[in-house]
Every structure is written in structure tokens, then in C-alpha cells.
Amino acid sequence: MKIDRKIVERAATLSRIEMEPENVEPMVRFFRDIIGHFKVLEKCDTTGVDPFSSLEDEPCPLRGDGPVRWDIGDEALDAAPHKEGRFFQVPAIGGEEGPDEV
């Protein structure tokens, strides 16, 4: 597999991260190095091995199945960069003029 700018730029787009032009080539080199290390795993015989899903020495402890009242909505909203009333405020998805509520 060829590791090139296209692969790095695709990963950046999916990650919602914009790469400065001067940082793309160092990231391509990093990808080549780290993926080279990943290839070592091909030497591990995983035939018939189930993928790890959890540490299996006990079942996941479950909470009680009942409603819980949380009254920290106002405090949580206080942490938002922008809010209006009981809503987080963000720009419109399509970029229309002015902020919109979601």
C-alpha cells in the first residue's frame, strides 16, 4: 500500500482537522513509519482467534433500570461558548447568514 498525501488528507478530513500545507509531508512520513511498525502484526498467527471485546472475568455490572433526575442543565449550558436560553448556539449547518439554534 502506498502511503501518500491523499491518505493523510482523507484521514484529516474525516477527523475534522485541517492540515497546514507545511505539516502534510511530515505527517505522511510519520504515517509511513508507524504503519511500517503495524506491519509487524502480520507475523502474529491470529488464525481462529476472536477479536478482543472485553476483559472476560466478570460480566459488565449494570445500573438499576430506572429514571435518574439530573439537574445540572444550567451549569452544563454555562460551559458552552455560546448559548441562547436552553439551547447551545452554533452557526447554521449550510452557512446561512447569522447563527441558528439546534
Binding site: I7, V8, R10, A11, A12, L14, S15, R16, I17, E18, N23, M27, F30, F31, D33, I34, H37, F38, V40, L41, E42, K43, C44, T46, V49, D50, P51, F52, S53, S54, L55, D57, E58, C60, P61, L62, R63, G64, I72, E75, A76, D78, A79, A80, P81, H82, F88, V90, P91, A92, I93, G94, G95
Partner: protein, 489 residues
Amino acid sequence: MRYEQMDASSIASAVTRGEVSAVEAVSASLDRIGSLEPRLNALITVMEERALERAAYVDGQVASGCDPGPLAGVPVVVKDNMCTRGVRTTCGSRILGDWEPPYDAAVVELFEKAGAVIVGKSNMDEFAMGSSTEHSYFGPASNPRDISRVPGGSSGGSAASAAAGYVPIALGSDTGGSIRQPAAFCGVHGLKPTYGMVSRWGLVAFASSLDQIGPFGRSVGDIALAMDVISSHDPRDSTCSRRERPSFRDGASSPAVKGMRIGIVREFLEGPLDPSLKRSIEGTASVLVSSGCAMVEVSLEESASFGLPCYYIIAPAEASSNLARFDGVRYGFREEAPDLVSQFTRTRSSGFGEEVKRRILTGTFVLSSGYYDAYYLTALKVRKRICEEFDRAFRSVDVILMPVAPSLPFRKGDLLDDPISMYMSDVFTLPVNLAGLPGMTVFTGLEPSGLPTSVQLVAPRWQDRRLIECAAVIEERFGCPPVAEGGAL
């Protein structure tokens, strides 16, 4: 009274008996921080006001005859990825630079309920991604044993705080070695408990199948005391076990190691390893043998060969998912933009540092269509093999003795531009996280250069107390870590 030399139980006893006040103990800690912090940068936030208020509350409890708890008046530091209500919790990142959580992490609740007083939030690699505490938006921390060197990471600020005598106990988190490696670099003890032993409610997630909270301390007794306080079931963390916890303090005060079989890992001693650290393993083995333990050679060939690449697929994959929540909408830093997607992208691009971006991109890549099976799914299968390999090893031994890191603490800047070499710092610690095992760094001495040596002990899941017992025997021979002067003239 030299508080920086005292262990937590001595401070708590003196406060409980009314011989000293919590305010006095906490003020001494704040003075120590004030004098050394300009050189160490171990803390992102010093909580002077809240600490003194809390100390006064503890003194009030003592005065009114209430039990103030086993950590009465003990100053402590917590890593800045653990939520503190109304006190900023930055994760060492610009993106959370001024975020004040509306709630306390479970470990913060438990510490305060036990009478501890949090004096500061410690410096760390951004979102716990790093091995040197150089990847912090708030600047690098220094190693108090030699300020030209790194304190390790990612919990470098917590390790430095304990080593420099700011506090007797500090809390860190460990995803691939982030308690054990900085403990080794700063010359203190540090314990990563079994996955599921300590609640992670209020810990900002890095890689959820690997993260675990644990203590640093300058005595095994303090590590045990901290574990007795923080290890309990918490229904708010669905991975936190209901299983009954042992008394760690009993393990520290009455270690029963006679007859234990200690595993020495051939593969870990054959690779690159500083000679002083190899001698440390040999010296520790002699101490344990003279205490009635038997040494048994074990093989962890797959962990040694595949642990690092396996970890650097799984941890970034989980990180890319966990860190998707930082988008500038609900909390933290926001970069304004005319549309929503641009706002996400600009916020994340400005808010995250370079190492975090590297890991998010790596994680996104291994999870993306066309590469998932080749990398992520393969890594999950290899992880299963590593778990099984440890299970096999623990059929013939009770505890494994191995190095913490391949080298003594390196100089600041030496590995900053070489991320893969930095990742190698964790080669001995991260297999332990992959298998969900408890692991402990135990201080074994100072080299003539003043740099510390240590060993790592690993036990089967839920046998954390065995680590405390072995560590108590080792400490009896090598002594407690001395307080570092933090470059003071």
C-alpha cells in the same frame, strides 16, 4: 516540622490528634509549590483558595470531634484530566483551556471525603498522549531530580509533585504507562491498578478500554493508603467492578511474600535496556529471593514483539472516537466560522496540539473503510493473544518482575521530533494495559548521577495487593524515595 519529608499517614495522624492543623500542613505544601514551581512547572492550576477553605473545614471537623478521615489534612495533587467542580480541568490542552466542570470526578469525591485537600491540578501531556509531559499547551514540566530532563509522561506533573515534596500523594492516569514511566523517571512509587478497580467517572477519556487511575507516593504505605480510599465500586462507571477490595494497608504492613514465584521475562532483558536498570532488576530479584521467593523464567514473546504496534493501533482508534466530542459546541474553546462544519474543523485544528492530531489521524485511518480489517481488527486479535500469553505466564508465577522503561529519564527535547522513539519509552508498560493487569513501579535507588532507578511488578487481575506486598519488601531493602530538591540552589 518539615512537611515535605512526611508521609501521608503521619500528616493525617498529626492532624487527627490535633497536634498540627490541616491549614498549617496545606500552607506548607503551598509554600513548597511557590518556591519550586517556577523551575518545575508541575502544576497547571494551584488551588490555593479552595485548598485553604477545605483545610479549615477539616480542622473544624477535628475540633468538633468528628472523624476527619484517613487522609485528614493531607495535601494532594490530581492530574488535570480529572474533573474538579468549578476549577478548570484542561487536560493540558488549549481546547479545554478554561473549561470548569460542573461536577467532581469520583476519585476527587473519595479523596475529599477521606479528608484530603487538593492543592493543585498537575501538568500532563495533552489528553494524556505522550511520555515526557512536553506535549502540554501549558509548557513542559521538569524532572525534579534533574531539571534538564523530562519527568516522563503523561502524568509527569503528578510524579514530579510527589518527588519534589509538594505532596505525599498524587493521582495520575495510566493508559499505556502514564503512571509507571513518570514514577520511574522522577524516582517515586506509582501503581496502575487492575482495569475496573478504580472508578473513572469524571476522568476525561483517552482510550476507554485501557485508561485507569492510580496513585503516586514516596512510600509503599502511602500508595496502599491511597488505594484503600479510591478503590471501590461506582455504578456511574460501567466498567468499575463490584468485587470486594482487599485491605492494601494490611498488605503493606504485613507483606506475605514467602513462597511467591516471581517471573523474570527473558525477552525484556535481552533488548535495549540501560545497564543500571538491568542491575536494578537483578538486585531486586536477590532481595525477593532472600525473602523466600523463587525466581522463575517466563516468556512473553508476543507481548514483547507485538505489544507496541498493537497498542498504537487500539489506543489512537479509541482516542479518535473519544475526542470527536471536542467540537466547540458544548464546552471549551471555539474558533468562530460561518458554517457548522467549518467551525468544527477550525476549532479542532487550533485547539489540539500536534501529538494529539497525529494520534487522531492515525486512529481515524485504522478505523476507516478499507483499512479497518487490516489494522484495527487484527490488533484486537493480537490483543487477545497478549491477554492469553499473560494468563499462561501467571499459571507458573505469582508476580512478574520487569523493567519500567528502557532508559533513565532523557533530556528535554531529545525525542520531541521523533515520535516513534518516544513511543518506545512505553514498550514494557503498555502490554500490561492491553491485558488489563495491575502494574507498579517500585523505586530502587539513585545512581551517582542522582537519576533514579526502579523496577516494574505485574500481577494477575485483581491481585494488586501482591504488588503492594512485594513492594513493601523491596522498599525495606532499598528505602523510600528521598524528596528531590527540584533544582533548588
